[in-house]
Point group: C2
Chain length 419, copies 2
């Protein structure tokens, strides 16, 4: 393989900017046609490799590829699929090799979060373990912001901006209504294990009495009485209370708020619904009229309000993945290295995948105020640059024009494989 | 009163552009200082007049007033307060006259929806009924889009744009995930009595298989089996199903979906929560993994994605209200008159308040497809111009800079009054 093809796949929950990473990778690869053949994208992530459903990205025009930079979601489809270990399931690794061999694949780019970097790490061992060497680069992505070593994860900055903007706007609404109507507004945000996204909502607070007045983090055990006292004191002082609650907020025993108590109609199989739980709790204890919102996918798909910093980093990491592969690096992940807080300066670094796989970066306790309901200056210093700048998509007829690829599959050469 | 003062108040649920109307009104009034003294704004709507809590807008700088054009919420506070009839409560009308007289108020501008226009109409009768003539102009505002005679109501176009953009974005997310994960996404939107906002979400559909695949309107009686069949057929054909449900969606007997069945934990005192109800219904019947979102206040506060058309109309109606008052008109409301669909051309007209008060404009049945799950071309022709154009606020540090007024009250001259 003097000019091997490359495989690229998107994995796990998608974001507003994972396609910007694809854009950076594909545009950089096209600059190196002498060394990289086609980039074949997995249809629905690595599942596409196993099923031999490989999208021929060479069929896409330059303008379609460029359009990915401002298109949310995963243009090739993503998956929730965790590769087992060699020992547990050598069969899937042998299948990967069969597919890679059949399609001349010498580069493997995997774009995802912690689980995905674990997958990428396993694939990087194919040479050593099964005699089929492939240059393997992981590319970070996750709105959860929980990958280690990188300053931030593409996708997070845009969610952070969305929640901060949304809470600032909704707070103006509640403030207008609170004299004779709604006094409490509860907004639920993503973040099952860590409060990064909830913390970002705190950026909306630009003066002591501004919203959000209370943030409920997964990191801080929920104490109902203390919480209700805080809400009451806020309504008495400010006139209203805006609360941001992480979907992962939980009691000291680890039980999720959304699962606890009697009002658990929606929490059985998926998180979500902690906002109404909290709102009803307040209504019953304090009698305040409430409204609540659950942004769910809207927050991580909101390309219309993406952070320009996030878009730029997502793109740069995609391009850097190609550079690393061409430099002969294997089993590494490009990362964002912060050089300076203000003005924010960053560069691209790299870390070995074995150090990244299955490690979760938690939010430092000193990002949360002593009372557990807000964020500190340290958190602001970290978070603020990540939401900096706007990067609007093109609109037509009042709506953003997002790119749809042709997504043509290359002909299959192998027998079927059951995933 | 050769140079009477004016009273302006915001009423009912606020919007992303009600302050743009205030901006238009205040800027136009300042151009006529020879004929209009100060504009005094009611703190928290007409309640501010009754309490003699009058904000002196002359204390605000020109740039602060200009900033209102791009600030969501109600800058002076709003209220939910319905004026009773003369017969039922003459006391409040006499109080209004006392306050108007004490503060030299000869113009009354009331910015709100149907109930508010009823209030404005009653106030316009003060001269005839109680011998204190006041020039009274109602100004339309409501995200519900249910005021008669006007082509649309300021606030609606921006909500319409928000829901159409959001559903398009979230659909790309679901499409990416549907192979191995989420197959159904349910988004709840406002609209208790009419499906205008739900219909606007239909604008996101730009090809036959695009989302939203199902819209549940308050106008169409919900039939569970037919709905579930449609969802299943959509998932089988497209791979996923995106559903937009109006908070007012109901069964044939008028029972709200959010209130019906056993999972009614949240519907007792306020609507909201129909999205999880629908999602769980699908999960139980069809087994699909789901996500759901309830945008609630986020949708009507989302100035960051406001429709430029909406902003322009909101501003123009505020300015027109002053023009009408100065032209000696009383008991009228300026309205948007559509001159042409494509390109959209509109002008300002006027209607008598007595014709507007307490009349609700319902959505024509021919805006909804025969099967009840989508919108027709006729609906598109009406809706599309209303979301046209972007009008971004100014950002600083990654967040929109919204204006805060000083809101200084003029000294009280009267005794207290219990509202």
């Amino acid at each position: 393989m003097s000019r091997p093809n490359a495989f690229y796949a998107q994995s796990g929950g998608v974001t507003a900017v994972i396609n910007a990473t694809a854009c950076g990778l594909l545009e950089r690869a096209r600059q190196h046609k002498d060394r990289i053949g086609k980039v074949l994208a997995g249809r629905n992530g690595i599942v596409g490799a196993l099923r031999e459903e490989l999208i021929d990205t060479s069929r896409e025009s330059a303008s379609a590829i460029a359009g990915l930079r401002s298109t949310p979601g995963g243009a090739f489809g993503s998956c929730r699929y965790k590769l087992e270990s060699f020992e547990a399931n050598e069969r899937v690794y042998r299948r990967l090799i069969d597919v890679f061999e059949a399609h001349g694949i010498g580069y493997f780019f995997y774009n995802g979060g912690g689980d995905s970097q674990d997958t990428a790490h396993k694939v990087s061992q194919l040479g050593k373990r099964l005699g089929y060497p492939v240059t393997c680069i992981g590319i970070p992505k996750t709105v959860d912001n929980d990958l280690p070593f990188t300053d931030t994860c593409p996708g997070f900055g845009s969610v952070a901006k969305y929640v901060a903007v949304s809470v600032r706007e909704a707070a103006l609404d509640v403030e207008s209504m609170c004299d004779t109507s709604t006094k409490v507004f509860v907004m639920e945000v993503m973040g099952r294990h860590a409060g990064w996204i909830a913390a970002a909502a705190g950026l909306a607070k630009d003066r002591p009495e501004a919203a959000p007045h209370v943030i409920l983090f997964p990191e801080i055990a929920f104490e109902k009485d203390r919480f209700l006292r805080k809400v009451r004191a806020t309504v008495r002082k400010v006139g209203y209370c805006v609360i941001v609650v992480s979907e992962g907020a939980c009691y000291a025993d680890g039980a999720f708020l959304a699962d606890a108590g009697t009002r658990d109609a929606f929490g059985h199989t998926q998180l979500g619904g902690v906002a109404p739980t909290v709102a009803v709790m307040i209504k019953e204890a304090l009698g305040y009229k409430y409204h609540w919102a659950v942004a769910d996918y809207l927050q991580r798909a909101a390309r219309h309000i993406a952070s320009a910093t996030d878009v730029e980093q997502a793109y740069a990491l995609g391009a850097a993945a190609v550079d690393l592969a061409l430099a002969g690096r294997n089993a590494v992940m490009p990362v964002i290295v912060r050089k300076r807080d203000k003005p924010y300066r960053w560069t691209i670094g790299e870390v070995p995948l074995e150090k990244v796989a299955n490690v979760e970066k938690s939010m430092p306790r000193n990002f949360i105020t002593r009372d557990g309901f807000g964020i500190t200056e340290r958190a602001r210093t970290y978070l603020q640059p990540l939401i900096e700048g706007e990067d609007y998509p093109t609109y037509k007829g009042g709506l953003p024009q997002y790119t749809r690829l042709k997504n043509e599959l290359v002909p299959k050469k192998l027998k079927g494989f059951r995933v």
